[in-house]
């Protein structure tokens, strides 16, 4: 993986010193809150409902064991002994004291981590496919590009005060696991007729108040043009973006108001203008970065024990079938660690669990970890012969829940349990749904299902692209949950349709249960997933289940 160069180290250390000084000046009264607020946000420090929250970037979701251990230590030393992994491949600490933040950032810098640009109207943490570098379907590892973008966008003088925040996601696979179509810029690696990899560029995707799927502005962008092209997009947006209205300030609205054709024309014109400024230094940097992402030294080992334990141990088999994915290297596998044990808070890991994960990465995973936008942890490179031992260790730490991609593998944002912007809670709704279907022993029978919950219209829980989405709202002072159906976060991205009136906190779990029971009755065969069934039949039978005639008055 990429390691900091002396420049990176110096840059991050300087920033820690500068921000520590700003904190001190806020505390001694030299800075007002109005002055301090943008400074703390630039450094990932929020003030939430009950406490401060520090959002730490995990660039393109990649970590090693040492970094994970440090996160565990930080959570114990300065917080309440756990961390929350987010849909943007960040980790959040929910209880830091203002006076400890400088020390936390310094501890992070010790392991080449920081919280810079995890908030504010700038280019945020660049996210990537969590199977990057390992996936069987991958054209090439997208992380060198993500790292190049990180270096370029960090403290970029032109793009520190954009009209609004700006999110970039990149995938190297035709199967989009990085939700690229819901990002301000989505980069999807494709090959041209000669087999050369490049990028399909989409712009203007985003969830939130006005959900939109990104539109393709370039079918094939050669890799050497990537940085000037992305800069052209940002430059056009920086000029056109609506600074007069926060709700219209994202590039999706710019795209909508300007029109895709005209915006594309402007981007191309700007690109032609700035392209000559890129003399090739970026390509030298990229070449050096790419070396840092060389695949690990794969081993070979006998698989007979693996095959025997797979046959003999039902729990292990179930975990392998559900949580293990195909790797590009023969004999290897990608193992996903679920942070969604039924009843637990989605995306949370205790310090003890983080240490076990670190140890597993070092022992069985070539010291590599990934955080997925689905709030799970991935060991991208595990030899199949090590899977059994890995599973045993994970089981002992409560980390072997076999539910990846199933109904209890729910994305849930912090919602009103933490977030100052929330209109309703999301965590307990996720907990209750997971517990209910676990009690019914139905989740494996239900099969692949993406359920996503947000605690407000900002949609950090990606509810619009969930097969089932739940949006928590405040309706006349009461929590109310709106259901959307048929969303899709993959390469066939789609925004879900609103099913109808919302449900109260007490009604939402039974409503989801009715919906799922209807699906089980309606599917033609077991292999027809909820999404496929919905696409075949449309909303009507599902709405009937959600709003049965005799309950009509009640639900409305």
């Amino acid at each position: 993986m990429y390691h900091y160069q002396p420049f990176d180290t110096q840059f991050v250390r300087n920033r820690v010193a500068i921000f520590s000084d700003q904190i001190a000046r806020r505390i001694d009264g030299s800075l007002t809150e109005e002055e301090f607020r943008p400074l703390r946000l630039m450094n990932g420090l929020y003030l939430q409902l009950h406490a401060y929250m520090l959002r730490v970037a995990i660039p393109y979701g990649t970590l090693n064991g040492r970094q994970m251990r440090q996160l565990a230590r930080i959570s114990e030393t300065y917080d309440k002994g756990y961390g929350h992994f987010t849909t943007r491949q960040n980790i959040q600490f929910n209880w830091p004291k203002l006076t400890d933040v400088g020390a936390i950032l310094s501890d992070l810098a010790d392991v080449e981590m920081h919280a810079i640009q995890t908030s504010g109207n700038c280019v945020r943490n660049v996210t990537a496919d969590h199977f990057a570098g390992a996936a069987l379907d991958e054209i090439a590892d997208p992380r060198p590009i993500a790292e190049l973008l990180r270096q370029w966008s960090t403290d970029h003088p032109e793009f520190q005060f954009l009209p609004r925040k700006f999110k970039i996601a990149v995938t190297g696979s035709p199967n989009d696991r990085a939700v690229t179509k819901a990002h301000d810029i989505g980069l999807r690696m494709v090959q041209n007729a000669l087999g050369t990899p490049g990028f399909e560029v989409s712009v203007g995707g985003g969830l939130g108040r006005t959900p939109m799927i990104g539109q393709v502005v370039r079918d094939f962008l050669p890799t050497q043009d990537l940085l000037p092209y992305v800069e052209a997009v940002l430059s056009v947006y920086n000029r056109l973006g609506r600074r007069d209205n926060k709700y219209k300030a994202r590039i999706k609205i710019t795209l909508h108001e300007t029109g895709a054709a005209e915006l594309t024309r402007m981007i191309e014109a700007r690109f032609i203008q700035i392209r000559p400024q890129f003399s090739g230094q970026d390509q030298q940097v990229l070449a050096a970065i790419t070396k840092a992402f060389a695949p690990p030294l794969y081993k070979t080992a006998d698989l007979s024990t693996y095959q025997a334990t797979y046959q003999a141990d039902g729990l292990f088999r179930s975990w392998v079938d559900t949580n293990v994915s195909a790797h590009k290297q023969a004999g290897y596998a990608i193992a996903s660690i679920s942070l969604k044990a039924q009843g637990q808070t989605p995306g949370d890991a205790t310090a003890a669990q983080m240490r076990v994960i670190a140890e597993m990465a070092e022992q069985f995973g070539h010291d590599e970890l990934r955080i997925s936008h689905e709030q799970n942890v991935i060991l991208p490179h595990v030899h199949q012969s090590d899977l059994y031992a890995l599973h045993q260790n994970l089981s002992a730490a409560g980390l072997a829940t076999a539910n990846l991609g199933l109904i209890s593998d729910i994305i849930a944002c912090p919602g009103m349990d933490y977030c100052a912007l929330a209109t309703a809670r999301s965590i307990p709704v996720a907990q209750n749904i997971a517990l209910r279907f676990d009690a019914l022993k139905l989740e494996h029978d239900i099969g692949p299902l993406k359920l996503k919950i947000s605690g407000c219209i900002n949609a950090c829980g990606h509810h619009h692209v969930g097969h089932i989405g739940i949006l928590g709202l405040d309706r006349a002072g009461v929590e109310n949950y709106q259901i959307t159906l048929g969303g899709d976060a993959t390469e066939t991205a789609a925004i879900g349709d609103r099913a109808g009136p919302g449900f109260s906190y007490d009604e939402i779990v039974p409503a989801i249960e009715r919906l799922i029971m209807a699906y089980l009755a309606l599917r033609i065969e077991r292999s027809e997933s909820f999404l496929k069934c919905y696409q075949r039949l449309g909303a009507a039978p599902f709405k009937e289940a959600l709003y049965p005639k005799d309950r009509e008055n009640h639900a409305a």
């Binding site: 309440k80 203002l98 307990p428 405040d474």
Partner: protein
């Protein structure tokens, strides 16, 4: 006189981030029950203006609607209710150590 919903002045503690309330003696308390329930709009405006000068103590002061209960002010809205306790997934925040 038109109807005025009683209020308390609240915000977050600068150093800890914890929810705090303004008391009758113009000090800050972590406990809503010790907050001053303000029943008059002019006084509410005055108290808020005072809170806004307390930038070394408090972040983001505002007026929150409350109702009078025998034991003290009671939140009208569920958001304010959560602010008196802490999150519902762990016994952290104000509810920590209680019960």
């Amino acid at each position: 006189m038109s109807h005025f919903t009683p209020k308390v002045v609240t915000g977050n503690d600068l150093l800890l981030g914890d929810v705090i309330y303004l008391t009758e003696t113009d000090s800050w308390s972590r406990d809503l029950l010790l907050a001053q329930l303000i029943t008059d709009p002019d006084q509410a405006a005055r108290k808020l203006a005072y809170a806004e000068t307390q930038t070394h103590k408090i972040v983001g002061p505002y007026l929150a609607d409350m109702q009078a209960a025998p034991q003290g002010p009671m939140p009208m809205h569920f958001r304010e209710g959560f602010r008196t306790r802490g999150p519902s997934n762990y016994r952290h925040g104000k509810q920590e150590g209680l019960l």
